[in-house]
Amino acid sequence: MDPNQRKISWNWADVWNRSRENWHWPLLPQPRMGISEAEGRGEFPFPNYRITVDQKTLDCGPDYLESLFDHLIVHYIYCPRSLEGAGLLALAALKGLEKPDPQRARCLVNVFTDIVVDSFRLERSSADEEKVLLGWKRLARQGDLAPLDRVVLGFLRDYWGANLPSCPRPEVDLLERIFSPGIRERSLWQRQCRQTAKILEPFLPGILGRGQIRCLEILNGSAKDAPLSYAAGLDVSQFEEVLAVLGLKSDLGGLKRWYRDQSYSIKIQERPRSRRESYPSAPVKWRLTDPVSELDHAYSLSLSPRLIPGVTTYKRGTEIGAMAPVGTAVPDLLVVLDSSRSMQGPKMGTKTHKATLAAFKACWFAHSKGAEVAAINFSEKYISAPWTRNLDLVENVLVEYFSTRTHIPGKAIRELAEERPGCLIICITDTHIQNLYQEWDDIKKASEAGDFVLFCIDQAYRDRHVEEALASLGRVYYINCLEDLVSLVVEVAGRAYCGESFISLE
């Protein structure tokens, strides 16, 4: 390493520690030296690691660097802080945009969070105020300011009463109105962000708002697994847009994550059934009315050389009480999911949506109980995941949507069921099965190998003959109301894996 660079790196490491000390030592990883995003990709190889300082920033001096670090730290500890918070702001920005676009929304979320963060710092102490203004004044001195930057600077001048360049545009007053309730009320942030996006949209792009949205999960590399609770209220396209704003677009286009995040909010409240059994307690007197077999000779003789009934005779007393449940083997779970055209596809409120969501939750629950999981997704063709502990593999199968005719793959179901005798087979279909009788023998054998539970969604197409035939397979639930599907599937899974259960949907 270049000795000069080492010297500088020592200095900025001190500055970083000073910033952390200012904010009570937040648990954030140490920044790394790299190339700025404008110049190219950072030297640091992991894309989730975003605190990167470049030479250009170091040249601005330790005061500016401390201000920058403070700013970043407050992003991570205050606004938007978490992925959930960032997602909600992204959603608000998308709603505020006339032409929703992830890039623009991201930029506006960044501008909004910058305003919140620096207003928060400004109010903290006079020393912080100086540092805040240092950064904004440096921005104001740049020659290539865009209209967006001018409007924001003009607003901050009025809002903070700071010596920043003024801007005579009416949008400055509008922004002042948006921020007039202050920035400390988190419940207002979404509304404020939406309005900010609406006001500033015509001025995009600018110097402000570049880069990724800063939140802890992205910084720590756990953004992929952090659940977003608002997924339940969004359609898949909206959810994908939010993910795109956060820079989390996955290979499956967010569909898998959409289902997974929704399933997090379905709670299974476990109530393991305790058994009541008798267990030995302290010795009690044996009387002549008690059976002779209960007399504990050895114990009685150890206390007295002579056995006098009712005086020196003892028996082992027993008590009856709740005992810990007996450990039972966990059945493996096979999910058979229909993805034919009649299931309507992966949109909010469709049969596919509810069925897949129920399947996700059942798989997750079985997996958490130590079971192996397999899945078959069928339409005219089918795909399957073998018995595995890899939930990702199963989920990849479940999210597929074929949208063709309904041909149940009886042989594949039988083969998987016979690999794990006694497994729980959850089959979710709308029962428009065109090859039911051709595959009947295989399905029958599969139901004999495991515990077959069929969920028939389409009540309107109920056929008496099919109904009678299906009833011989095992348990059959006819779903009148689609909302019940998730509850019933989870109920069945809950009963199989933890005895009694009931669910609550939040």
């Binding site: 102490s125 007039s180 309730p181 009320e185």
Partner: protein, 282 residues
Amino acid sequence: MKLVGFMDAAYQRTAPGRKLKTGKRNLIFNLEDLADQIGEKPSRAEVERLVPRDKNQLDLLISSQPGKKHARLWGYITSLAAECATAPLILPFRDYAGLELRRGTIIFQDTSDNSGCHVKNYAESHPDSHSKSHSEIQAASHVGERMTGGKILVQGRAGDYLGQEMKGGGIIASGCRDYAFRNMRGGYGVVRGDAGKFAGLCNCCGRIAVLGSCKERAGWLMSGGSLHVRGDCGEYLGILMSGGRITVTGKAGRRAGWRRKGGSIKAASYGPESAEDLLELG
């Protein structure tokens, strides 16, 4: 050591920062923001609960462009503003203005009319509202819908559904289009010019006076109240009416009183195929 001192020592507090000026926390930024919180078709009670009765807040919301999406919300806000105001409120003419008004006075000013009104009004403080085209002014429908009190003065021709389902108060308009005072339950309505079709449809109480003429089917299914028309009426006057009084100073069109079950109709003359038991004005 006092708690403040202890905290300062623990957190090594330096000079305290200054507080930024903050306004009311329950500020609603615009109609879109309000709709976000209570939906696009809320009840008046929901709007009342959320919107503070603050003049600045109400002015801010009234000055928002409602479009079709937030027209109802805007209507409720105009009513709340009129109820809070001490002087008549002068507003731009838009759909659902004065929705469920309870008291107060609203004047919807025609931009072509420069009458000397000296009340402090919205239109003075918001010059944009004067720039509306005349066609937009004419298009405003549902004015004074479900009002239970107060007065609305429309200095121009109102659109459809003027005073629909009103239960009290009064509306005075220069003219109106179809379905004026439909399902009226009380109050009064005066149309100084001509009214469109179906005036007083299903009217069961209240008084309607049209100083010009009415088009067809005025007083259709009327069961109470009164309808007075100074000019002429179109065909099917008082069709299927079961109560109330209709007086037409001019001529009634054909089939007046067709299948009438009750109430009275008086007119200077009737067209062909009119009911036989109708009264002619002397």
